[in-house]
């Protein structure tokens, strides 16, 4: 009974991990879809299958994220801010600031030396300040989300969007395509616009280095590079940035079970 699960149900993706003795043994990411309950079940089944366990082997499960309530089999729930902080502290104990770029929100968290949340700010009102902006434009450019970073990294002359709004940005991207502007310059322009919004959010909390970045947005290497340029810092990027919050949830599952 030393296996612990963390499940993070986001608006776009659902993420899950199994850890044992604070070591990551399995992880799984799927699209959240319309039914979060089914997604949560699917993640648990796949995690257990990967490690060849049964449900009874799981000592505790912690759920987090926008859809945490749907993880009916979880022993407890935890706030996503706390889980992200815990997960990042586990991967990068030296990190003092975290940027979490998700599909529906961007969060900036300041960490204490022990990995506790010292302060945080969340931008969730506007798609133009979240990973959704990238999803919208990737759709217009007809490219895979995974190609967005490598494609825009090739741009030498990123376009400047006249708007921070993802809806108006979509129309603007269509106009630029019809004018014959290369896809990479449009993609790089989106990264530039998003990086500028994210950087203002970071500056609101004041950047304390070293700063880590996680969430699906951190998979976009060009976005990471652009934020580094704007903030004039080097960002710590976890090997699998999407599962950091789920990892934090699994760590909380472990510590709360052992402290009982």
């Amino acid at each position: 009974m030393s296996w612990f699960i963390g499940i993070d149900i986001g608006s776009a993706y659902s993420k899950g991990v199994i850890i044992k003795d604070f070591e990551l043994v399995a992880s799984h990411v799927i699209i959240s879809g319309a039914n979060y309950r089914t997604s949560a079940e699917a993640i648990r089944t796949e995690l257990i299958r990967q490690v060849n366990l049964s449900q009874d082997d799981i000592a505790n499960t912690v759920a987090t994220g926008a859809g945490a309530d749907n993880v009916y089999f979880a022993g407890q729930k935890a706030s996503d801010i706390v889980c992200t902080a815990r997960g990042v502290h586990y991967v990068f104990p030296q990190a003092r600031t975290v940027i979490d770029v998700a599909s529906q929100s961007t969060k900036v968290i300041r960490l204490s030396g022990e990995g506790k949340v010292a302060n945080f700010t969340v931008s969730e009102k506007c798609a133009g300040g979240s990973g959704r902006f990238i999803e919208v434009i990737a759709n217009v450019l007809r490219i895979d989300l995974s190609d967005f970073g490598p494609l825009s990294a090739r741009s030498k002359t990123p376009i400047t969007f006249s708007t921070g709004c993802a809806v108006f940005g979509e129309s603007e991207a269509i106009t630029r395509i019809s004018e014959g502007i290369p896809k990479e310059d449009i993609a790089a322009g989106v990264n530039k616009a998003l990086a500028s919004k994210i950087s203002s959010l970071v500056k609101k909390l004041k950047l304390e280095e070293p700063c880590a970045i996680c969430g699906g947005g951190a998979l976009n290497i060009a976005l990471v590079k652009t934020i580094e340029d704007v903030l004039n810092t080097t960002l710590l990027v976890p090997p699998n940035p999407q599962i950091v919050t789920a990892l934090g949830a699994a760590i909380i599952a472990t510590t709360s079970a052992t402290s009982e």
């Binding site: 506007c126 798609a127 709004c165 993802a166």
Partner: protein, 280 residues
């Protein structure tokens, strides 16, 4: 003597032709495409045909709207704010506050004795413009033009919790799949847009009479929601899309008549409706 006003908006291009006494000879509306210039020619050609006039018969032409620089045959460009203010006050002389909700922006204008005295606008965020309804209508699988009638059948008020158009798009689909009535959702969308535009107008201070124009004013449900959010009576022109072009035509006539009175020569542009390209 004849005068023309051409208003190239983000969604629709409008032309008004009038004689020197201010009588309307023809009005034409057409969807704005990416090729503004060709469209301006086409809409102008239709307006002339309806009025049985030639382009040479027009003494002065004013272009307005965000595409006003793409009207090759216009003699003068005037901002849409001035044109709207002029057009609205010609229809409602007692107007003090004019609210125009277009496909890509929303403007609130303070008007005193027919003159624009102050304004605020939102063209930064789609959530405060007609685009909010366009995007969510598509998500709900209904026609934009049907939204008004649908919303009038609502039985309860639904609060749309997301401000952002893109997040609201997701929210309405989720509401629908949860079994919420389409009518109630659409009414909720009107309420959300109305409260945002009303907040914009309040920055200027709302003084009666208040006139609502722009394509969104054709939506009866939206007019009702705006009345509710503003807490006052609203006047809507019969043709709420045309006030900008109407104002442009009136300003064309006034500019021309003033020059004639002073015996000044007004520079005018080539009157050819040639096919121009976008990048020329």
């Amino acid at each position: 003597m004849y005068f023309a006003g051409v208003d190239i908006g983000s969604t629709m291009t409008k032309v008004v032709l009038m004689d020197k006494s201010g009588n309307l000879l023809s009005t034409v509306k057409g969807p704005t495409g990416p090729e503004h210039r060709q469209l301006a020619n086409e809409v102008m050609r239709q307006a002339l045909e309806q009025a049985s006039l030639q382009i040479d018969d027009i003494s002065y032409i004013v272009a307005t709207g965000y595409g006003r620089l793409n009207v090759p045959f216009a003699d003068r460009q005037i901002t849409e704010l001035s044109c709207h203010a002029r057009g609205v006050s010609s229809l409602f002389p007692s107007v003090r506050t004019a609210i125009d909700i277009g496909g890509q922006d929303a403007k609130c204008m303070k008007i005193d004795k027919g003159r624009l005295t102050n304004f605020v606008m939102n063209d930064k965020c789609a959530a405060g413009t007609g685009r909010f309804l366009e995007v969510t209508a598509t998500a709900l699988g209904i026609e934009l033009d049907d939204m008004g009638d649908i919303s009038l059948k609502a039985t309860k008020k639904i609060q749309i919790s997301n401000l952002c158009t893109i997040f609201a798009q997701q929210e309405v689909v989720a509401l629908l799949s949860r079994g919420e009535n389409l009518e109630n959702i659409v009414a909720g969308l009107h309420g959300a847009l109305a409260s945002r535009v009303a907040a914009l107008a309040r920055r200027l201070g709302i003084e009666p009479d208040v006139v609502l124009t722009g394509g969104v004013a054709k939506n009866t449900g939206m007019v009702r929601a705006m009345k509710g959010s503003l807490g006052c009576e609203l006047f809507v022109p019969e043709e709420p899309l045309l006030t900008g072009a109407l104002g442009a035509a009136i300003l064309a006539s006034e500019t021309y008549m003033k020059a004639v009175a002073k015996s000044e020569a007004l520079p005018t542009k080539s009157r050819r409706l040639e096919k121009a390209t976008f990048f020329s």
